[in-house]
């Protein structure tokens, strides 16, 4: 067993979660406020990864970003970005794949806050941005934490998308879940067990942290 795949997995999960957070907050805010007719469409798109086999997502991304394709070719030639079989491609795929896990908790957190909180803030002379930052987000901390941890844990565990778009390049796209599959194929059960145990422990710890904090156990000690 090597540490490379584990470190790569953590790097991927961290990058994905950070990007998702920045994307999901405005998206969830918009979804929680809007009465637009396209809201159901956007909600359905955000939720797609929940029901879609990851291989489907990976397959279409592979097609879209492949250099044989016009779009992939354009990206490569003009921007110098290669999304197929690269870490950047993995991050992009993971962001799409874990989108609902970040958006849903934040959206439901924002929807659960009474409207009067933001209205009070507006009448106190504050902008929408200040209101979001100082009033809304601090009052949905448990939802934010749930979103962050679920996205992180979910990205650590993904397999199908990574396999399709990333392949199995050591140090670049060979994440832990791929490594496990690889070692089992090679009948290397000891190494597979090592990766598996680490993933198991990481997943358990992250989820435990969520429940400890949201269940109020930590508050008792920190107040």
């Amino acid at each position: 067993m090597e540490w490379g795949p584990i470190i790569l997995t953590l790097k991927l999960a961290a990058a994905t979660t950070a990007i998702l957070f920045v994307l999901a907050v405005p998206l969830a805010y918009w979804l929680s406020r809007t009465t637009s007719r396209i809201k159901p469409v956007v909600e359905a798109l955000v939720s797609m990864p929940l029901v879609l086999p990851p291989t489907v997502l990976g397959f279409y991304m592979l097609l879209a970003f492949s250099p044989q394709n016009a779009f992939g070719d354009w990206l490569d030639k003009w921007l110098g970005i290669q999304l197929v079989f690269s870490f950047a491609g993995l991050v992009l795929a993971s962001v799409l794949y874990s989108l609902p896990f970040m958006v849903h908790p934040i959206q439901s957190g924002l929807s659960s806050l009474p409207n009067t909180l933001s209205e009070a803030s507006y009448t106190l002379g504050k902008s929408k941005w200040t209101t979001l930052r100082k009033v809304l987000l601090p009052n949905i901390r448990p939802s934010l934490l749930t979103g962050i941890v679920l996205s992180f844990a979910h990205t650590m565990g993904e397999f199908g998308v990574v396999l399709m778009i990333g392949g199995n390049i050591p140090g670049k796209t060979r994440v832990a879940s791929i490594a496990i599959y690889d070692e089992v194929e090679a009948l290397n059960y000891g190494a597979a067990n090592g990766y598996s145990l680490i993933l198991l422990a990481l997943s358990f710890i992250t989820l435990l942290v969520v429940y400890l904090i949201n269940g109020g156990y930590l508050k008792r000690f920190t107040v």
């Binding site: 009067t116 209205e119 009070a120 803030s121 009448t123 106190l124 009033v135």
Partner: protein, 290 residues
């Protein structure tokens, strides 16, 4: 002075309602909107504060146009000079009492305003507590203080006292009245409590189905002002004293003080400072030339 003339079609469970409110409030006046729930009282405050856009009409406050459909003017709520106390108080749960008040400060504003309000509303003991740990009356005081931080010209109160018991109400009515006088506010209150309306407001507007159906001075609109009693005055309770098995209530009417005998059932909801109507049949008074 507030000049408001707005139209809005409101959708509710009972179908749609045409709201049309025309209202002129003099600077420094304390007025009350009264009427059944769903009559459009809260919507009127929301339109005045900019939280809900009217379909048509205009809102002008002290000569500044806040809303004018024709001229496509619609001032953002944050730029309207108002203090709004919400029915559910809308205190920010993540901030302490002091932080709730400080949040309302403008960038250039002096922090002493906050200290001043904490003292006026007697919040010293509560300043480091979070709203979740406060009682209804305490939250109300914080909400009122917070609404006053920006030193608004207009104070809007949406049934602020409806959730409180009567002793707490009496006390908070006093705070509201003091703030109204001290800061020279123009205040619009929504209330169902007739005693409260008579005590606090100069004028009352009754709303029904999105329209103002009656308006007038509170004693005329409610209770004794409308009785067959011909010998009637409005005054202010100065003193209530138990004598024997009855109470003697001293009431200031104009420059005179009169004494009225009252039963315990009448004085139980009275206290010095209350505005009252005093009435008697025209058959009782005797007349002597002086």
């Amino acid at each position: 002075m507030i000049e408001l003339n707005v139209h809005k079609t409101l959708q509710s469970a009972q179908g749609s309602m045409e709201l049309h409110v025309e209202l002129t409030v003099e600077k420094g006046q304390f007025i009350t909107l009264y009427g059944e729930s769903g009559a459009g009282k809260t919507s009127t405050l929301r339109m005045l504060s900019g939280l809900m856009p009217p379909d048509k009409g205009s809102i002008t406050v002290n000569g500044t146009v806040w809303f004018d459909r024709e001229r496509k003017t619609n001032l953002n709520p944050r730029h309207r000079n108002i203090g709004y106390v919400f029915q559910d108080y809308a205190l920010f749960p993540n901030m302490t009492v002091s932080q709730n008040l400080e949040f309302a400060l403008d960038r250039k504003q002096d922090k002493t305003v906050v200290e001043d309000l904490i003292a006026t509303m007697e919040l010293q003991q509560l300043r480091h507590r979070k709203p979740g740990t406060l009682s209804g009356g305490q939250k109300q005081r914080v909400a009122l203080a917070r609404a006053l931080v920006r030193q608004p010209g207009v104070l809007l109160l949406d049934e602020p006292l409806s959730a409180l018991d009567s002793a707490m109400r009496q006390k908070l009515q006093q705070y509201i009245l003091e703030a109204h006088k001290k800061y020279g506010l123009t205040t619009i209150l929504i209330s169902h409590d007739i005693g409260e309306i008579i005590k606090l407001s100069d004028k009352v507007y009754e709303m029904q189905n999105g329209k103002i159906v009656r308006q007038g001075a509170p004693p005329d609109m409610f209770g004794l002002g409308k009785t067959s009693a011909k010998f009637r005055f409005t005054g202010e309770v100065i003193r209530i004293q138990k004598e024997d098995v009855v109470y003697v209530v001293t009431i200031r009417i104009g420059n005179d003080a009169v004494k009225v005998i009252a039963d315990q059932s009448e004085v139980s909801h009275l206290q010095p400072g209350d505005k009252v109507a005093v009435a008697s049949k025209a058959f009782n008074p005797v007349i002597q030339k002086i």
